[in-house]
């Protein structure tokens, strides 16, 4: 493929992504934060994200495929405990996940 077709692909990807965001704004225009529809969308959004994260961990795509599920579970369990124990510090678990995962993958 030529360089111009890469540009076209980037443009198409950006439009396909922006559509969902902008449709969300359109729907939101007359939606009150107190309405039941807002509340339903709120739970659906949380549930979708939870499903996405869980799928990313259990059935990953790309580089994570080269690690075992057990290693991913160990790293995640340790990091979640650190997150809760440090009263919701996010930097520490993210740094730790990288270090611990690198170590476990290299010895597996």
């Amino acid at each position: 493929m030529t360089s111009s077709s890469i540009v076209l692909i980037i443009l198409i990807t950006s439009v396909a992504t922006y559509i969902s965001r902008v449709l969300g704004v359109l729907t939101s225009e007359r939606l009150s934060i107190k309405s039941k529809i807002f509340s339903w969308f709120n739970y659906v959004a949380y549930s979708i994200l939870a499903a996405l994260i869980s799928r990313m961990i259990i059935f990953p795509a790309g580089a994570l495929l080269e690690s075992t599920l057990l290693i991913r579970f160990i790293v995640i369990a340790v990091c979640v405990v650190v997150f809760i124990y440090t009263k919701k510090n996010l930097v520490l678990p993210t740094v730790l996940s990288f270090v611990l995962f690198t170590f476990l993958v290299s010895v597996q």
Partner: protein, 235 residues
């Protein structure tokens, strides 16, 4: 046009112990390296993160490009994988509405919507004066988007130095960050139910209907939580 104090307050979410910067950096550095290997130019890689700013969609785009998929196929697969932004935007924007804010700001700033910025905003918007929540959101969004773009640039430039084990390790950081944020969001029983059902059903449905698994799992989990007895919380 913009309330500077609230904007800066949003931008400040990038620093401190709850910063998303490292998680964003890890995934977009990896993405920059993937773009380099796929044969994209530096400018194209930066443009992709700047104008798409949605990691799964950008990965789908790269895979499809390498497989030689048609433009219409790329459009449909990216649209489907990023459709989660629709319910996420609807679950956020009503909380940012104020009659003093011009409409165009909503249409431009919705581009900042991503999992990290959404979770940060949902976590913190109640502390912000209703009138300036949109400016706070623009602060969060411009900070997270800039981190993503700069990390893509950095990843592209250092791709030759990233070995396979490092690429694998970079890929775990984002799921860990997201999961911790989700656990932090379990502040009431109904949201917790929505999250737990999503966590269980997401991978289960993936086995049978991979393309639709996330959306259907979320639809079921969210509806179940909504229909449960009890007060609907707007977090």
């Amino acid at each position: 046009m913009i309330h500077i104090k609230s904007y800066l307050q949003g931008l400040k979410s990038l620093i401190g112990i709850r910063s998303p910067a490292l998680a964003l950096a890890a995934s977009f550095i990896a993405l920059g390296a993937i773009f380099k290997q796929a044969g994209f130019s530096l400018e194209q890689s930066i443009a992709s993160s700047l104008f798409t700013y949605a990691l799964p969609g950008q990965l789908v785009m790269t895979e499809s490009y390498l497989l030689g998929a048609s433009l219409i196929n790329i459009f449909i697969s990216v649209w489907l994988v990023n459709f989660r932004f629709y319910p996420m935007t609807v679950a956020l924007m009503p909380a940012l509405q104020h009659k003093s804010q011009p409409r165009w700001k909503y249409y431009l700033s919705c581009h900042f919507l991503a999992v990290s910025s959404w979770l940060i905003m949902k976590d913190g918007y109640k502390k912000i004066d209703k009138k300036y929540r949109l400016d706070y959101w623009i602060g969060i969004g411009s900070g997270t988007l800039s981190s993503a773009v700069l990390s893509t640039l950095f990843g592209y430039l250092i791709s030759d130095y990233l070995n396979n084990n490092m690429m694998i390790a970079l890929a775990i950081v984002n799921p860990v960050y997201f999961l911790c944020m989700m656990i932090g969001a379990m502040k009431n029983i109904k949201t917790t139910i929505a999250i737990v059902i999503g966590i269980i059903l997401g991978p289960l449905f993936y086995l049978t209907i991979p393309e639709w698994s996330i959306l259907i799992a979320g639809f079921i989990g969210g509806t179940a939580a909504f229909l449960m007895k009890g007060k609907n919380n707007d977090i």
